[in-house]
Amino acid sequence: MSDLFVGKLRALRPLAVIGAIGVVVAACGNGTSTTPSASLAADQTLRFPSDSDIGTLDPAQINAETDVELYQNLFDGLLKFDDTLKVIPDIATALPTISADGMTYTFKLNANAKFWNGHAVKASDFIYSFSRSAAEGGNAYGSNFDHVVGYDVVSKTKDWAHNQTMLSGMSAPDDHTLQIKLISPWYVFSTELALASAAQVIDPTVVNTDDANWWSKPATAVGTGPYKMVSYIPKQSAAFDAVPNWWGSPQPTVQHVKIDFIADMSQGVVKYEQGGYDLIGYGGMGSDTPTADIIRIQADPTLSKQLKFVNKVRTIWVQYAFGPPPSGSGRAQSVFAGDLESGPAHDLRLAFSLAIDRTQMVNVACANGITCSAATGGLITKGLRGYVGDNSDPLAKFDLTQAKALLKSGDPTGSKTKNLTYYYDPNKAIYKATAENVASQWQTNLGIHVNLQPIDHAAFIKNYTAHNYVLFREGWQADYDHPQDWFDNLFIKGGGSNGGDYTDPKVEALVKKADAEPLDAAIADYNAASKQMMTDAAYAPLAYFKGEFMFKPYLIHAGSNNFNDFYWNEMQIGSH
């Protein structure tokens, strides 16, 4: 459904292109941004709600999807993703020139690029911005620069704002040339640079005046993007205006963007129906529309045409503990640990996975598949590179006969599966619903009673990353479209979010090889690693998330890909 939707929007691209040409012509003529044509609404103000306030718009700190969706319209990096998630030049004039050894990246910068305060963007600004992110962004995406020479020194710099140490691997032969040296080949680097997070350029002359709070005030939230902040009332509203004579393209047609921070999306949906909002789902709100509202809207012949679903980049699964209990944790030995490819523990893991009827789970837990779909193609979400293919994951099959046989072999006396507890965080309705459904299926299908233990999200995260659970809900939201993001964080020994402490030397070797290869060549190795994990029955897949959006029919080129909303400056508001 999402592909169809994206396809439909692509069909509207000629309109956007024509609009963009019009804008350029108009800009050349009078030096100001475009005047909407007759087919466009006179008032080019885009309004939408968000149930989440801005956490930060500082590239060194930005972490949350809700922030990134706004941020990507205010700041630019060297590279960016287009709407089809292809990496394209942003302030760089072209994709980087990469040295033969894969360790030196050279970028030529667009000489016209400037911040909205008029300051021209210089290569040294990127050195400052990246170094600052590397130093202050360890809690966010600063580690994206961990392959840049000098990262070790900069990331350990205390109080960087007053002790500005630059990444020694970055240099600026002139104002419009930037060279970045890596410690080893790292073909994910271009993707990491395109990610709207740590790699956007900021104006040192502004940021140095107030390192902690510069981003939150319209006067100092200075970026190079097509929009700038004009008002921000914490927890209430934010407003952004198009930057006059913006250096890039397409020139923004939408002149004002107004966002209300509301309590929950039900209120937003009601106001959307009343004409108070132009769309629902932007700003990372694609999964926040209550299911009851979606069902109601689906029954409405007019509104249902405005409702769109897009596969989003989040997968959830059941994870088993593979490692020993952490000392002092009080956790029991895991009955699922060991026997990677075969043996009793392997059979037990496989039995638990094959006993789940995912069609039933999706129907019950995701309102007949409205909010999620069964994860049948590996853990990397459908639509992303590294997705293994529909129904390719043997762990996602529902095979009760085999599950019962495996249970007999894995736990002949039934002693291992007594008193098991499944931990989950009930903060998202889908986590609770899937936990209850899966436990009920284990009881019905295998005769195993698994206790359910809801834990508040923050405590849950703390405990599972500390390996304190034997059986628990795990999940991942991709940071960017590269399998490395999944494997290095989740399935490699020491991976920060490898809550199950899973490790398989075969997977480790494949991932290590793939990480050092260009993406096209690496995909085969990442897929082999995914299949090895299936052989290991390393997890029990559950669901891929979907995002729900509503767009008024008069919006032109509004939409979302698997990761992000389409850029605001590509959008137009048609007459209505």
Binding site: T56, S216, Q236, E273, Q274, A459, N489, S497
Partner: protein, 319 residues
Amino acid sequence: MFTRGSLLYIGQRLILILFTAVAVSSIVFLGIHRLPGNALLNERHPDPAAQAELLHYYHLDLPLAQQYFLFVGGVFHGDLGESLVNRSVQITPLLLREARVSAEVGGAAIVFTIGIGIVLGVIAAVRQNTWVDYVATTTSVIGYSMPNFVVASLLFLFFGIYFYKWTGGTIYYNSGWTGSWGTLDQIVVPGFALGFPYASIVARLTRASMLEVIRQDYVRTARAKGLTDRIVIIRHALRNALIPVVTILGPLVIGIVTGSVVIENIFGIPGLGKEFATSILQRDYNIVIGLFTFYAIIIAAANLLVDLLYTVIDPRIRY
């Protein structure tokens, strides 16, 4: 207006409010720091050094006692710190702005509570055992029996969706505040939802109190003097009938303040009530502590105000 005794009383109560605020914030501070997890955790496992730096930034790496003294010092200077979730957002100005929003909605609720409650109560008493009394009493019972979140959800549903086209959008809740003050269409519906259940209590109390007062000798005397019914009721009966009503105003104000947590979340009003729920769910400790402190001050101050109102309504009461 104020005697030396009453000024002394007010002074004592203000000192008590200060101690209450410090005591409440201390209990919440110590309690909340016992909870596992914090707002800085996320699925993307942070670099330990960066995590340590963040903890240092928020003084969370200091011993609890030291954190506590820093916090109390801040409270005395009116500085409740910075949000853990929304970086750079200072809590004191945030809560002051949100308090203004809540006061606006709460004020509307109090107007409804007192206005509707007293009018219904008086009419029911004056027209005792007529259909007017039955309608007023039944309305009160309905209001008294329905929690404010039920009233709010129904109003939201009816005026926001079902009756929207019929009313032409003149009566509905318009979500999305863009300034410090809401517009009339943003206040009326939530204000009514918040105040209606309490209005019913006031109506029942006023009716009972009025029935007692209008049978008093001085009311009979007033009538015998040839005064009109309106003057007898408004000038002679109502004032004395209001004393028991004022007695419950304290708890009612507290009910409205706490009820705003639910109402503001249902209607998405950016006030203290909405902040209360979101900051707890997000484990934004600093805001949670600040909010509890704020609420303690508001409730204590409301009680003081009601106590002072007694002296206005009943001159026999002196402090």
